[in-house]
């Protein structure tokens, strides 16, 4: 008989399978690191139009979108929310959990019914603090996402579509 509880076993298989076969974020990650992150993952479902997190709230989780669409929004005072970017299948949602003050900078709301893998960021912060190699690995992976989104945001700011005659 396995010494891993059935739900833990299912959880472990779930994330590892997804990571290895589907998600670029985990590509090439050390099996040991995968296991540690895997142990902090659960599935989380959000109906369409649900708020996943709100600006200013504590950032205690992060997510990988398995299916669905999520809008990152800013809410100007007294005006309708403005969508800054949308995230979709395979995208990572949330990196404010990595750095103090561990608060969300924007709102995240589902556009469609959304299935995610949710990761316990508080536990992962502790794990990262205790394991330099895991910390470096995760930081490198998140840095890549941050750079990609920064470059995309810069392109958006250029308003390039106004230029072509």
């Amino acid at each position: 008989m396995s010494d891993i509880a059935p739900e833990q076993s299912e959880r472990r298989r779930l994330v590892s399978d997804f990571a290895l076969e589907e998600n670029e974020f985990f590509a090439g990650m050390e099996p040991l690191h995968l296991e540690r992150i895997d142990a902090l993952a659960t599935r989380q479902h959000f109906g369409a139009g649900m708020m996943i997190f709100r600006e200013g709230e504590s950032a205690n989780s992060w997510w990988i979108i398995e299916h669905g669409d999520v809008a990152l929004q800013v809410r100007p005072h007294g005006r309708d929310a403005r969508v800054l970017q949308t995230l979709h299948q395979g995208d990572v949602l949330g990196w404010s959990w990595l750095f103090p003050p561990y608060q969300w900078a924007f709102d995240a709301t589902t556009i469609t019914s959304t299935d995610t893998l949710a990761f316990d960021a508080i536990a992962l912060r502790s794990a990262v603090d205790a394991d330099v190699a895991l910390s470096a690995d995760l930081m490198r992976r998140f840095a890549r996402i941050v750079i990609d989104r920064l470059q995309a945001t810069r392109l958006q700011l250029l308003d390039v579509y106004g230029d072509r005659g």
């Binding site: 969508v83 392109l155 579509y161």
Partner: protein
Amino acid sequence: MAIAADAGTVGAMVPTLVEVVDVRQDLPDTVSFDLQMPEPFEFEPGQFTMLYAPGIGEAPISISGDPANHDVITHTVRAVGKVSQALCRLRPGDRVGVRGPYGVPWPVRVAEGGDVVLMAGGIGLAPLRPVLYHLLHHRGRYESVVLLYGARSPIDLLYNQELRAWRSRYDCEVEVTVDHGGADWHGPVGVVTKLLGRAPFDGPATTAMVCGPEIMMRFSARDLIKQEVASDRVYMSMERNMQCGVGWCGHCQFGPKILCRDGPVLPYPAIEELLTVNEI
């Protein structure tokens, strides 16, 4: 019929006057109009004509209509200069001068047998629309057909009704994104390159055709290559100050290329280095 397209004759510079038979206001600053050709007119997707607004001047405008229609040709023009503003004021019954078609077309035959990804930004969808018509007319010759289109906002989406019709088809994949979405927009928000990761195509078997602002095309090429599309299978349509349309005057020189003659469609490796040279 190709109107005065032979660069070896004086006639290459003489436009034929044709009648405008329909005008559609696509966007507040963008108009499509149909020209009734006096003789059957053949063109390849990606080619352009020199359009003459009588008394104002000439401008190179990509043909944006269906290449299977040899009687009526369509152009889509955005009002950014004197000539294009005049063209945007055309009404049915008006006449314009036409020379062409000119230029190197999109490689629709090279792409046969593989996947095709079209990436358009803003009004860059206009020169790619004939490609999509061609691909759909000859759907059996291609594997996946993907159109990825980015615009500034939902109200800036060109050919909105056709986009909806293409999206409803089962034999092509159409994804649209905007830089700024309003409360009524439920689609993706972000740059057009972000759509690549979700698009159904096999990089090594793909031919990509990209049209839009140069900076958008540069980043699109970079990300297509990341998706394993061969760099010489990435094609762009370049835009410069074309005046003669037949390679005589040199106004549209882009490094060693004369774009009206050697382009406007060029493989990415032929222009990759030039794209980051400010002086060109």
